[in-house]
Amino acid sequence: MPEKPPREIKYLATLPVNILLNAVLIIPFAIMIYLAFLKWSPAMGMNWWEAPIIGLTNFARALGDARFIAALSRTALYTVSVVAIEFFLGLALAYIMLGDFVGKKAAIAITIYPLMLPPVVVATIFYLMFQSYGPVNNLFLKAIMGEEALRIYWFLKPDTAFITLLIADIWQWTPFMFLIMYSALSAVPKRLVEAAEVLGASSFTIFWRVRLPLIKPLIIVALVLRGLEAFKMFDYAFIMTGGGPGTTTETVSMYIYRTAILYTDISYAAAMSLIILAMIIIVVRAFIWYFFERGR
């Protein structure tokens, strides 16, 4: 029986990572929570620990802030849209790539290539692509609409500006869904599929009744992971639209960034961040309960 190390050794062994976690995560998070209950900005010329405590004022302010609510709603709409589209596209691509064919490895590599690019690079590329003189108008749309395509100004109207953000996100993150779905579908036991085939089930029935139920846990994981990331979207809006026109494509991350960094209203930004955190915890928890824990 191997000798267990003494408790003191265990504490010492985990000391470095404990120090690191406390320094970069736990203590700053605790400070952020405290800041949310203060009225403090660096421009007030006082130390944060000397700032007056104002209770829930910042939270009430956020819930009454039309710009914050609009950014939140917009971000929620964005998240639902991109996650849904990316899921179905990723699933479809994964299903198509299930079988063996010539060049399959190259096809998979090309499919996941967008994931390797930094979001800032993708945002810059799509910003240029959607200019009035860019390839979207000059090549794709001109072939369909003629010269009229050159007068489409994607970033001038809220709806079209929003669509450009969706397209950039879908282009980059569909491969993420594809990878998870492909792995999940590949892991379905072949004997089950063969048994269904022998029994005369159609491809659709096999997919709907055999494959899909078996990969359901991974679908939930993919949706949650992708949803969390999409909700934090910042790069595309910052680079492509600047949150405009006006604030019609400003995401909640952008608004919190502006509040904290440009306006130095740190306390208010902290309060908004905590509201977002609480909302996400509730939504994700409800999601997991519904799909995994309900009925146990």
Binding site: E3, P5, P6, E8, I9, L12, A13, L15, P16, I19, L20, A23, K39, S41, P42, A43, M44, G45, N47, W48, Q131, S132, Y133, Y153, F155, L156, K157, P158, A161, T241, G242, G243, G244, P245, G246, T247, T248, R258, I261, L262, Y263, T264, D265
Partner: protein, 540 residues
């Protein structure tokens, strides 16, 4: 033996872990330790005797007074042991000014090789602001000097980062009076906050009107314009004139040298940053005042505010859509390609237009921005958005030395060489425009026509809202201006929203303290603007 081996292994593991843990803890403690503030009582003497320390090069004859006094000041600090050879000061700055600051350091090293100057270069302007405000919180002494936008001056001062420079101005005389002073009112409004000097002028960022001379001076177009509008085609005096000319050229559907379409005008209306510049310019010229001088209530929801929107919306059909959606650099791109007849931007636009690759290299003209006729008098004003200034950190170990470097780098002779070695810092001393010793150099860098226009623009320039919260006030204004220009908000609603947002910002910081700062800043606006404010009862 096995037992001994395991014990030894456990001991060594524990020892190694302890050492690593202590090392990490020490590193974190060291990095978070605030800088020691070295306090010394400095007695200044009235004499100007230059004491030469053996092995140290004295300032040569021929340097300007400001530069000489700066160098003498450094000698004095060295002689008295306040600083020692090998002392290093650090400057936090944005990448765009690196070439010019390196030139300043190169010249500094010729005279003061014992004092090192290091640059901490950041990529983007917001990074400098963030770092500066972080320093205000941590007080770590990370840098000695920071170059900031004058727009941030209120925030930086109120956060406690900026050292008051009054005593150094008085002691060393940077030549802010006399024939080589920074042109007023700019020299005052970018350096003075609540009655005290907190910065040194590094730059000017006053807007001028740039236009295509070949189109404006074309005799055929002149004739057609006169026939159509009943007035001369020339550099516009008023915004109304400019709208007519923009309409005229837009309807001509001309092709630019780039092959693209020629637009009548391009004035900033973009969402991220610059939309406020155009609106504020017209608003101020129309006699608008941003805040009430008695109550600090916003005064944008006024006839002047509505007039500014009226002008911008009437210009909109003749501007490219990118004026509302693209970043600020797109204006430069369009003008350089000859796709804009009238535009306005920083002096760097003129420099870009002069480059060999510019398609308007020989036809770009410069003029004062159009004005607004108020009670029969043409009021012109030029916005001075951003404008780099140098600030000495309150947490610097060597504040006096840091100030002396700034005075040296911006002295009449040294300063001109510094400015002409790069792009983003521009002329601000009057002698650089007028004195035969300096003017040829300035003209070589900017063109003869431009420097005469620019000098006049500096005289009629007005500041950004430089009080605390300035970036936030202007950001909110930019968002609303862009919303109106994009057609998603009514001007009346936008002005009402700006008023509400500005009022909220004011109350966040305190009405009294904001009012004190605003009253000080309002006094530094150009005389013509203040005369209109008095005539309208906005100012006593």
């Amino acid at each position: 033996m096995g037992e001994v081996s395991k014990s030894r292994r456990l001991f060594l593991t524990a020892l190694g872990t302890t050492i690593v843990g202590i090392g990490i803890g020490y590193a974190i403690g060291y990095l978070s330790k605030p800088a020691e503030i070295v306090e010394k009582t400095i007695t200044s003497t009235a004499t100007k005797t230059v004491t030469v320390t053996p092995g140290v090069t004295p300032p040569p004859i021929g340097l300007s007074g400001a530069a000489t006094r700066a160098l003498e000041g450094v000698r004095d600090l060295l002689n008295r042991g306040v600083i020692t050879p090998g002392t290093t000061i650090k400057i936090l700055h944005v990448a765009g000014s690196r070439a010019q600051l390196e030139k300043a350091i190169e010249l500094w090293r010729q005279y003061v090789p014992e004092v090192n100057v290091e640059l901490i270069t950041l990529g983007q302007e917001p990074d400098v602001y963030t770092k500066a405000m972080a320093e205000a919180v941590t007080k770590a002494g990370t840098f000695d000097i920071v170059t900031i936008f004058s727009t941030w001056l209120g925030d930086i001062v109120e956060a406690g980062l900026a050292k008051s420079l009054d005593e150094y101005y008085a002691k060393y005389d940077p030549e802010y009076t006399g024939p080589c002073a920074p042109i007023e009112p700019l020299g005052s409004y970018v350096t003075i906050y609540k009655g005290k000097r907190y910065s040194v002028v590094l730059d000017s960022d006053v807007f001028t009107l740039s236009y295509r001379k070949d189109l404006i001076e074309n005799p055929i177009y002149k004739s057609e314009f006169r026939a159509q509008y009943g007035k001369d085609l020339k550099v516009p005096d008023t915004w109304e004139d400019l709208i007519d000319m923009a309409e005229f050229f837009y309807n001509k559907n001309l092709t630019a040298p780039s092959g693209g379409r020629v637009y009548g005008a391009y004035f900033y209306a973009e969402p991220a940053f610059a939309a406020y510049i155009t609106w504020l310019n017209i608003f101020i010229e129309a006699g608008g005042i941003p805040f009430d001088l008695e109550t600090m209530d916003p005064r944008v929801d006024t006839p002047e505010g509505r007039y500014a929107f009226d002008i911008m919306l009437r210009l909109k059909p003749y501007m490219p859509p990118e004026a509302i959606t693209a970043g600020w650099a797109d204006l430069y791109d369009k003008f350089i390609k000859g796709e804009t007849v009238f535009t306005a931007a920083w002096p760097s636009l003129t420099k870009e237009a002069m480059r060999p690759t510019s398609l308007v290299k020989d036809v770009a003209g410069s003029a004062l921005l159009p004005g607004v006729v108020v009670d029969g008098k043409l009021i012109r004003a030029a916005p001075n958005p951003v404008n780099w200034v140098g600030v000495v950190s309150n947490y610097s170990r060597y504040p006096e030395l840091s100030y002396l470097f700034l005075q040296f780098a911006t002295a009449p002779d040294i300063g001109l060489d510094v400015i002409l070695s790069g792009v983003i810092l521009d002329l601000f001393r009057e002698c650089w425009f007028k004195d035969p010793a300096y003017r040829p150099k300035s003209a070589e860098g900017y063109g003869e026509e431009f420097i005469d226009v620019y000098m006049e623009s500096l005289r009629i320039s007005f500041p950004d809202i430089l009080i605390r919260g300035g970036p936030e006030y202007l950001s909110k204004l930019t968002t609303e201006v862009n919303s109106v220009m994009a057609g998603i908000k009514d001007p009346e609603v936008a002005l009402s929203d700006v008023s509400a947002e500005w009022d909220s910002i004011t109350r966040k910081y305190g009405v009294d303290t904001q009012l004190e700062a605003w009253r000080g800043l309002a006094q530094l606006f150009p005389d013509d603007v203040k005369d209109v404010w008095r005539a309208k009862g906005y100012m006593k």
